[in-house]
């Protein structure tokens, strides 16, 4: 589904990703952990084509994302992305937030787009907020709105960039529950996260990033239970698991 080979990414002089090889098969939930600045979020931006890459290749669903003849807009339609800052569109109602892209990108009729939007909002438990504006929603609700908005494009995979990091602690649970729901439904997902408990419980595999490289990647029990890398051991000893 997502195949990354020898990915290098630089911001000017600073090399953020130093040769990433990663293969995420269909239906897998991969969590990416690591300290800040290790390149986790940058990886997602590269997969989504929001950041250019210097070397290597990213293939998503048989399409080379960074090839010059690739239409990024159509690649992105197959990839949902949820950001740390939930980024609801403040000038649109909850329903319009979700219905917009299906209408103008997937070219659904207004009626179809609204139906899709309503379905996805019910899916994430926001069925009673359709006519509200995002400003009336809590952070957790806005993040679920962002998930519904991405799902409405019927993506083949989802990328989560620290989806719960900006939330108040008591709101983290509802968002994780929603992501868990998607995992149960078999969605292919890459979740950059600081929630070790979540990574352990939901993921099929967990990748530990250290200084722009995948230091260790394994099934959660192995990775958390018997870490081989000394950096990972150090990292795990600092975060509560």
């Amino acid at each position: 589904m997502i195949k990354i080979t020898n990915l290098h990414k630089q911001y000017g002089e600073l090399e953020v990703l130093k040769g990433i090889d990663l293969d995420v098969p269909k239906g897998e939930v991969l969590s990416v952990i690591g300290s800040s600045g290790s390149g986790k979020s940058t990886l997602l931006y590269c997969i989504n084509g929001l950041e250019p890459i210097q070397k290597g290749q990213i293939i998503v669903d048989d399409i080379d994302v960074h090839a010059s003849d690739t239409n990024l807009n159509s690649v992105r339609q197959n990839m949902g992305m949820v950001f740390q800052q939930w980024n609801s569109f403040p000038h649109l109602t909850v329903l319009e937030n979700v219905a917009l892209a299906p209408k103008i990108v997937s070219k659904l009729s207004k009626k179809e787009a609204l139906e899709v939007a309503e379905k996805q909002l019910l899916h994430v438990g926001l069925g009673d907020k359709l006519t509200q504006y995002p400003s009336a929603l809590s952070g957790g609700q806005q993040q679920r709105l962002a998930i519904a908005r991405a799902l409405a494009m019927e993506p083949k995979c989802m990328l989560f960039d620290e989806a719960t990091s900006a939330l108040d602690p008591e709101l983290v649970g509802e968002v994780l529950d929603t992501i868990r729901l998607l995992a149960d439904e078999g969605m292919t997902m890459i979740c950059v996260t600081h929630e070790m408990g979540f990574a352990r419980e939901v993921s099929d595999r967990v990748a530990f990033f250290h200084e722009g490289k995948i230091e260790e990647i394994n099934q959660p029990e192995e990775l958390f239970g018997s870490a081989k890398s000394k950096y990972l051991q150090k990292f795990l000893s600092k975060v509560k698991t």
Binding site: N73, F83, N87, F89, A101, I104, P134, R149, A150
Partner: protein, 219 residues
């Protein structure tokens, strides 16, 4: 004080004054519509581009904001006239006000664009929208809210500035007032009446603007 007020001539020519007030409104509204379009373009050029086009936009904005509006009007009247390019008084005022509005609005728009977080662009691109859709559906609607009140101010300003038109021979409200005042020598009475008409026009604009804002911005 031995000045005797004579209001009758003013009342008699009130229909003419009101008709010229429509001309004032017309030129102000047109200059605002053009000013918004040019201002938007100038701000985007200033933010996004480099090279001669940016240099052009910055010069326009700087000149419009930092020189007297009257001189800007004179440029389109007497300035270009000296090179054999002649416009009608209406067009001189329209061009002058448009030039001025564009410069001020461009800076308002620039502030508006800068106030929208970069992440809004990323979010809409990630949904598969192209840049054009991102700007027209997500960014500009939010910018319009930020610049709405400055834009209302500019509209009021355009109405008041159009009175400079009388100095280039345009018979808008002030020009018409000047015409009657010098014909009847009732200078104070005419300009007092005209001041009231301006005041009412501005109050109506502010009222309409508030009404529109409550309709447009529900969030």
């Amino acid at each position: 004080m031995d000045y005797n007020f004579h209001w009758r001539p003013v009342f008699k020519s009130l229909p003419d004054l009101l008709e010229s007030a429509l001309l004032t409104l017309e030129v102000a509204i047109l200059s605002m519509i053009l000013g918004i379009l040019f201002g938007l373009a100038l701000s985007l050029i200033r933010i996004k581009m480099t090279g001669p086009l940016k240099w052009f936009a910055v010069s326009w904005i700087e000149l419009a904001r930092n020189t007297p509006a009257l001189l800007q009007l004179f440029f389109f009247g007497f300035g270009l006239g000296a090179f054999g390019i002649h416009f009608s008084p209406f067009l001189i005022v329209l061009l002058g006000l448009t030039f001025n509005n564009s410069g001020y609005l461009a800076e308002n728009f620039r502030g508006g664009f800068n106030s929208i977080p970069e992440t809004q662009i990323r979010a809409s691109l990630s949904l598969g929208m192209n840049s054009f859709q991102t700007y027209t559906r997500i960014i500009i609607p939010q910018v319009l809210r930020v610049v709405y009140h400055p834009m209302t101010n500019q509209m009021v300003w355009a109405v008041l500035m159009s009175s400079l038109g009388m100095l280039v021979g345009f018979r808008e409200l002030s020009g018409e007032t000047q015409f009657f005042a010098s014909k009847t020598y009732r200078i104070f009475e005419y300009f007092a009446a005209t001041a009231i008409i301006y005041y009412v026009i501005v109050k109506i604009i502010l009222g309409l603007s508030r009404l529109m804002a409550s309709r447009l911005f529900k969030y």
